[in-house]
């Protein structure tokens, strides 16, 4: 009986390991193809260990398109967006849970009713509004149009609800200002929710495509997803351009793989909170 269970355990492990490896196969295949020569890919596309390493695919890709500029654009806009979303959302979530004011229930009802709605519905009016602000084709416009995120407000509000009233009252009677209570007591007490919102915000904004693709035109001003896709389109799906496209894609994808490997356990936890992306 014990032995049978042990064999079953191993069989299960191997099956799941194979499925897991199949899931990351596209990433592995991308990495491998990015250092192969065009001929080798065409002749032996299944070969997982390249016969010779062609790192010039990367220098060619970097010469053909401003990947570093694109990565930098994505990185700084993502950091600013995530930070500002957390900042504003914390304030609103605090007000929703700790203040009495006119319209509070209406405000929460609006947030609850709209946090799962498709952001695509807002694109045409948002585009016009940004046009009026002269912020089309501008990374500042991308940041400003993303400052609000109903999902983050909702997430923080649900988490802030669990802070015991006594703690806040004690802080108030000690003479702490509401600002101090929020940033020094409530936010640290809810660091899990804040971390979740940070990681989900990081992924959705860094990987975001449709909205930035509508907003940004200049090559220099692209974010990485949009830049990569236009790079891949201009190179075309020809056999000879295949390695350089894989090298470009690798440049775009590897930063996230590295972040994921380092922060893996937090990502797995956080993703469960993201019932829907913003």
């Amino acid at each position: 009986m014990k032995k049978v269970q042990k064999i079953q355990g191993w069989a299960l492990f191997i099956i799941l390991l194979i499925i897991g490896l199949l899931m990351v196969y596209p990433m592995i295949w991308m990495l491998v193809s990015s250092v192969k020569s065009a001929n080798e890919i065409l002749n032996q596309p299944l070969q997982l260990i390249p016969r010779s390493f062609h790192f010039d695919n990367f220098t060619n890709a970097l010469k053909a398109a401003p990947f570093m500029q694109w990565l930098w654009n994505s990185a700084w806009t993502t950091v600013v967006i995530v930070f500002m979303q957390l900042f504003f959302s914390s304030l609103i979530a605090y007000a929703l849970t700790q203040f009495k004011f006119m319209g509070r229930n209406v405000l929460f009802a609006i947030i609850l009713a709209t946090y799962m709605l498709p952001s695509a519905t807002t694109y045409i009016p948002s585009y016009v509004i940004l046009g009026k602000m002269h912020l089309i084709n501008s990374l500042i416009g991308l940041v400003i149009s993303n400052l609000a995120n109903v999902f983050v407000i909702f997430l923080l509000r649900q988490s802030f609800m669990s802070v015991p009233k006594g703690i806040i009252e004690a802080a108030r009677s000690d003479g702490a200002s509401e600002w101090t209570i929020l940033w020094q007591i409530v936010v640290p007490m809810n660091k899990n929710a804040v971390l979740n919102a940070t990681l989900i915000g990081f992924i959705t904004n860094f990987n975001g495509y449709l909205w930035p693709s509508l907003l940004l035109n200049d090559t220099k001003k692209q974010v990485i997803s949009v830049g990569l896709n236009s790079f891949s389109n201009t190179q075309g799906a020809f056999d000879q351009t295949f390695p350089i496209i894989m090298a470009g894609t690798t440049i775009a994808v590897v930063p996230l793989i590295i972040v994921y490997v380092i922060l893996q356990k937090y990502f797995v936890q956080s993703s469960k909170t993201s019932s829907i992306k913003g």
Partner: protein, 290 residues
Amino acid sequence: MEMKASKRQLLLFVVIPLIPLVVFWIIPLIVSLWLSFTDWNYISPTFDYVGIKNYTQLFASQDFQQAFAHTAYFTFFSVVPIIVFGFLLAVGLNKLKRSYKFIQALLFAPWVTPLIGMSIVWGWIFNSKVGPINQILHILHLPEPQWLTNPTAAMWTIIIVTIWKNAGWAALFFSDALAKIPSSLFEVSDMEGLSWWQKIWYVLIPLVSPTTLFLVIVMILECLQAYDQITVLTQGGPAGSTTTLLYLYYQLGFKQFQMGSATALSIVILVISAILAYISIRMSRKHTYY
């Protein structure tokens, strides 16, 4: 007790942080609804009110009907396998004694990596000439479909990429739900002498059903908003065979500048999403998730 906020506090905590929310979320939602009753074409400074004409024209148009059918097909054949695979993976994961975290990390990786980049890679994996999939099919003497140029196959390419991205994510939720089932239930089912599939069918599936319903709704919403894999792999083609409602919205609004029809379509997508969101909120009040 909640505190009655002073004017200064309201300004700092509510009014200022609400500005971006109002300008780029609430107003655009309302303006979209309003534009859907006009014939605005983006370039012209004037427009007329046309009542519900955009909606009646949209519902009557073949483009919309096809896109609706494609979206339903795409959503159904993506969501069902995501839920089934996600559940089975979770059952396997939770029985695993070693390397649980490692395998979980592998399964979950597709959700983190940028879908634009990975769709470019998938495009080459499905390439009918050099892609590994057809190479393997060739070795096995199986038919080699023209993945991206045949209408049915193109839809399935999009579906496969969507399943790949979300199955591991669904597994995480099921894995949590399964871990919370009290072990005494398993002891009882062992004593009753249930076989493994009876255990799955009569014990596990009913107990995770709140999670299943929640995942079904979230995944339908995800499919309604699918865009990246479509724009990279097929751009809605061949011959419109992978044009979903959201992709049609993009074409109407940002290629043809028919803002009236586009916003009307976006309101249709919004209403479908709102109904699903409403069901999910009602559900989460009724059930505590296991």
